[in-house]
Symmetry: C2
Amino acid sequence: MTDIFLSKINSTKIIPSIRQGDRRILSRCISWIENEHADYLELLQSLPADYSTRKVIGITGAPGAGKSTLIDVLIGHLISEHKKIAVICVDPSSPFHFGALLGDRIRMNKWFNHEDVFIRSLASRGNLGGLNPKVIEITDLLKAADFDYIIIETVGVGQNEVEVAAIADTTIVVLTPGSGDDIQTMKAGLMEIADIFVVNKSDHEQTDNLVKNLQGILIQDQQPIPVLKTIATQGEGVRELWNQIKIDLSDETKNAHKPELLAAEAYQLIQYQRMKDLSKEDLSKDIRELIQHEQFNLYQLISKYT
Amino acid sequence: MTDIFLSKINSTKIIPSIRQGDRRILSRCISWIENEHADYLELLQSLPADYSTRKVIGITGAPGAGKSTLIDVLIGHLISEHKKIAVICVDPSSPFHFGALLGDRIRMNKWFNHEDVFIRSLASRGNLGGLNPKVIEITDLLKAADFDYIIIETVGVGQNEVEVAAIADTTIVVLTPGSGDDIQTMKAGLMEIADIFVVNKSDHEQTDNLVKNLQGILIQDQQPIPVLKTIATQGEGVRELWNQIKIDLSDETKNAHKPELLAAEAYQLIQYQRMKDLSKEDLSKDIRELIQHEQFNLYQLISKYT
C-alpha cells in the first residue's frame, strides 16, 4: 500500500503508474470509477490527451454463443504474439465473470494469473442504462495503461449492448447455428453494429443454413460484412478471425467518424451525470401516491425535477 | 382573436375552452408546445388531474404500408359511430402530413374539414430524440379536449417510434406482403410493441407467406398477438380491426402498469428538459477543435457541461 491510496486521488502519480503497468493501482482505480469515488472524474480528467489511440475490440452475442471460449483462444493467439490484452466483461453469464459457475471459472482461470492479461468483470446496474458510462470510463482508463488491445465482451440482447458497441473500433457479433440466432440478432439490432460476423460451433449441421440466411439479409441491406466460421473449442478459424480483425482495425475510413463517435460518448456521459440523481422507481412511487390522492399531473411532477 | 392570446398564457381560460371543443385555441396551444413558448409548461401543469382517461391508438409501419389509408377508413367507421377523433401524424411520408405530395393530400383532405376530426402533423426534429417529448405533451393536451380517441401515426423504422408507441394504449403494427416487412419489423424492434398486427394489401400473393412467417416468430416468442388481414383501399377487414382494437383497449390488466408507463414518460420529459441546451453537433465541433490542438480529454470536456 503506497501513499497515493491514503488520501485524495493523486492523479499525477497514478496515471504514470498505470501506464508503466501497475495492475494493482489499475484495479483500484477501476473500483473508484465503478463506485464513483469522490475524485474519480478528476482522475479521468488527468488522462493524457493522446490516450485514445489503443484499439478496442467488441465481442457480442447471445448467452452460450461461445464468446468467452472465443476470447480465450484469441488471448492465447495474442499472447503468442507477445501482446498485452485487457478484457472487460459486461456479460453476467460469462465464465470470465466472478458470479459464474465454478467449473467455468476454473476452465478460464489461467488467464486471470497471466501477467500480460488483465480481466475485469463489471456488475450490471439494470436501470438508467447505468452500465454504459462506466464501460466508457473504464475503457478510457485502460487505454492509458500498457495494453495493446482491449476486448469488451457484452451479451447481445438489447439496446445497452448496441450502445456499448459504439465505443469499440471493431465489433464482432457471434452467432450459433440451430439457435434461431439470425432472428434474435435482427431483433436485438445487432445487424447494424457488426463489422464481422462469426458463426461459432460451425460443426453444427445447421451452419450452412445460418450462413445463407445471414448473407441473404446482408445482401438485402447492401452491407458487405464478412461472415467467418469458427469452432472456438477446437481453436478452429480463430487465426482467420484475428486476421480479419486486423484488416478491420486498419481501415482508415473509420477514423473520419471519430469526432462524431466521441461526441456521442460525451453526450451520453453528460446525460448520465445530469440524470443520476433520478430513478424511474422513485418516480413511479411518487406517481402511485399522486394518483391515489387524485392529484396527478405529469407536468407538475416534472417541474420538481427540472 | 380573444384576449387570452394577447399576453401570457391564461391557463384557467384556455383548458376549459379546449375541453368544450374550441379547435382554434387547441391548434394555437399545440403550436405553443411545438415551439416551446415561454409558458407552455405552465399550460400543461394546469391540465386537470383526470385528463388521462382518453384512449390513445398507435399505428406504425414502414412507409407505403398503407397506414394513412387504414386511418382514413378507421376515421370513416368512427364518424359513423358519432365519435370524435384526433390524429397526430409523426410520419413525414404520410399523406396526412403537410409536406406530402399534393395528390395524396387531396385524397385525404375530406377529414381536414370535418368538424369531428382533428388532424395535426408534427415536424420531426431529428437529433436529441427531440420529437418524442413533443408527442407526449401534445397527446396529453389532446386528452384534455373532447375527443373519444386519439390516433398517433408513426413510421416504424427506429427506436424513436418504439418509444412513441409506449404512450399508446394499443399499438397496431401494419405490414405489407412481399416487402420483406417481417425482417424489417424485427430489426426495428416492432415485434415487442405490437398489440395487434395488420397485414394490409392482403390481396397480394405473398400474404399467406408473411402471415405464416409472422405467426412462426410469435409462437417462438410465446406471444399470443392477433394477426389481422386488411385491404384498406377497399375498406376490407377494417370493421374487424376496430373490434379487435376495442377488445384490446378494454383489457383491464394493462392498467396495472400505468404508473410505470407514466414514470417512463416523466423520466423522458425530465431528461429532455435537462438536456435540451446541448447538441451532439456542438459537442462534435468542440471535439474537432480540441483534437486539432492536441488538447482533447473527454472528461475535461464533459466537466464544462455537468
